[in-house]
């Protein structure tokens, strides 16, 4: 029997919210390390993956590796029935994962709800993501990231992100005009999460679709900070670490390549 108990359902709710705009259904691979999901959106432009580490669960039992085919919307519906501070327990039969049992218990232990969700057999393409060294990274407040993406969307469809010695700049161009937002390296002493940290081996400049970045930015609910990692003409990685070492949600987005004709 696979069993995992989280102290608060809120984390799971937020994770679902961060993937549901991109993915309808996906396999949740459960093993000794924790629960992992990886899926591309249907146009194969972006990929989202999350991991919730085994250590972050109150109870985590996984005798055999198992893939649970989850319809994201359905699970989100079930989770709506839980209060944010309810604990949530997921259970499934490792040998025949046809259904997932979902149990909510209130803080005062006076309310227990129990749901069964049907699982699916999903034939899914998995991509091997190389643990590559990115030439430049920016760590910044996730709320700030969300705001920049929102602001630029009023002007254009895509954003050019440039990281160099001076800082990180985000610029866009549209029918009505153009815009540019520039962040400088800074360290905020009292509130470290508001600082902007830049590590740079080589300057880098790439263009990405704002439609996707805005979807990713919603994951700001999971984490105070976000790390953007980039290399020239390579997908950008956008990582939200979930607080208290619970795990992460990562997005990968293929760049727009000008003059590409194929």
């Amino acid at each position: 029997m696979f069993e995992a108990r989280l102290e608060e359902s809120a984390v799971l709710k937020k994770i679902l919210d961060s993937v549901r705009d991109l993915v309808q259904e996906a396999n949740w691979d459960c093993n000794d390390d924790g629960i992992v999901m990886q899926s591309m959106d249907s146009s194969h432009i972006s990929l989202v993956c999350f991991m919730v580490r085994a250590s972050s669960f109150e109870v985590y039992q996984c005798e055999r590796n198992v893939s649970l085919g989850v319809k994201i919307d359905s699970l989100a519906k079930v989770l709506k029935c839980a209060a944010s501070d309810d604990s949530v327990t997921l259970k499934a039969d490792e040998n025949e994962p046809n259904t997932m049992d979902i149990l909510f218990e209130s803080k005062k232990n006076d309310r227990i709800s129990d749901f069964q969700l049907k699982l699916m057999v999903i034939d899914q393409e998995m991509l091997g993501i190389p643990e590559s060294d990115y030439t430049s990274t920016v760590e910044m407040s996730s709320a700030e990231f969300r705001r920049i993406m929102g602001d630029l969307s009023t002007m254009g469809d895509s954003v050019t992100i440039e990281i160099n010695k001076g800082g990180a700049s985000f610029s866009t161009k549209g029918d009505i005009g153009s815009g540019n937002i520039c962040l400088q390296k800074s360290a905020s002493v009292d509130k470290p999460k508001d600082g902007v940290k830049i590590t740079m081996v080589e300057p880098v400049k790439s263009t990405f679709s704002l439609k996707f970045l805005n979807i990713f930015a919603k994951a700001a609910a999971l984490s105070d900070t976000v790390v953007l990692s980039m290399s020239e003409e390579y997908p950008i990685r956008i990582e939200f670490a979930i607080d208290k070492d619970v795990g992460y949600v990562r997005y990968y987005l293929a760049p727009k390549i000008e003059g590409q004709e194929s």
Partner: protein, 377 residues
Amino acid sequence: MGIRGLTKLLADNAARCRSDQELKSFFGRRIAIDASMNIYQFLVAVRQGSDNLTNEAGEITSHLSGLFYRTIKLMEVGVKPCYVFDGKPPKMKSGELQKRIDAKKLAQQEAKKAEETGDVEAFEKYSRRINKVTPEVIQQCKTLLKLMGVPVIEAPCEAEAQCASMCKGGLVYATASEDMDSLTFGTTRLVRRLWSGATATNEKKGIRPMEFNLPIALEELQMDHSTFIDLCMLCGCDYMDSIKGVGPTTALNLMRKHGSIESVFKALRKEGKHVVPEVDLSEIRQLFVKPEVLSNSEINLQWTSPDEAGLIDFLVKQNSFREDTIRSGIKRMLSSRNAASQARLDTFFKKKPTAAKRKVDEDDTVSSKKGKLSHAM
């Protein structure tokens, strides 16, 4: 048309080669479209009531409307379409073509009869069948596509063969055709019902483009491509009729037993139960193995900006389309061209084989069960 019963044969014996796809998943892919088949579909399907759309002179314009809007739809999804037109038909096909001409004549007579007796339903049914893709229609389609900036390829002979050669050479990602013999010609990926993903009603009904993957099909059938060609010929193709009493399943069993169509014919003749046609098998096989096609280096695929003035002149002035709808179509084309610079993620990250492997094991047990069953029969 195509290979008799091949779809079902593959569904029964190589289910893993077929998958339903969302139209979106073809984002950024080049797709070679078998033009004549699709134009014919437009003539049949794009209608106002029971009549084709026409311009002021009363000439049919259904094909232009269909081609224009559906191509835009594909471009908006991010597909890069190119259209491949038939050249002259191969000699061996004359029998099949004669049959089609006869069928048209019959439909014409039936339609006339229905009109006289006032049977509206039957009239509609048969009048759809009369449609013929005339050289003028083809010429207009080519003109339209060129104005839209979409590549047009004129195959020296059969369009399916040309598509297959482009697909094999990696010039395009897939062939879009309804014709299963695209696989016989060696198309590695065949997409049927490509358009179905483009309309909202089909999406709701769950009708999606179907992708057939040839390498997987061959792996599942455990045969090489030349044996597969023999199998298709035995099922009955455009160049030779099927043998009475030999359906697809029997054909597959016979091929497995004898290995080549020549040996199958020999065995059948010996048995004497079937009427085996006297045809030149190696000549027909050559049509599939070495069809007359342009080599990939002779083909230049280039998508260019639509010619706005030209389109307005051609569609609005000459063919009575409404100017505002055409202009908004052109706008959609232009904005889809801007989106075309977006790369796909799977060009950077490679697929992991793990998930597929597990599935192979499952399918193996299923197919071996089926194998036993058919032996028992």
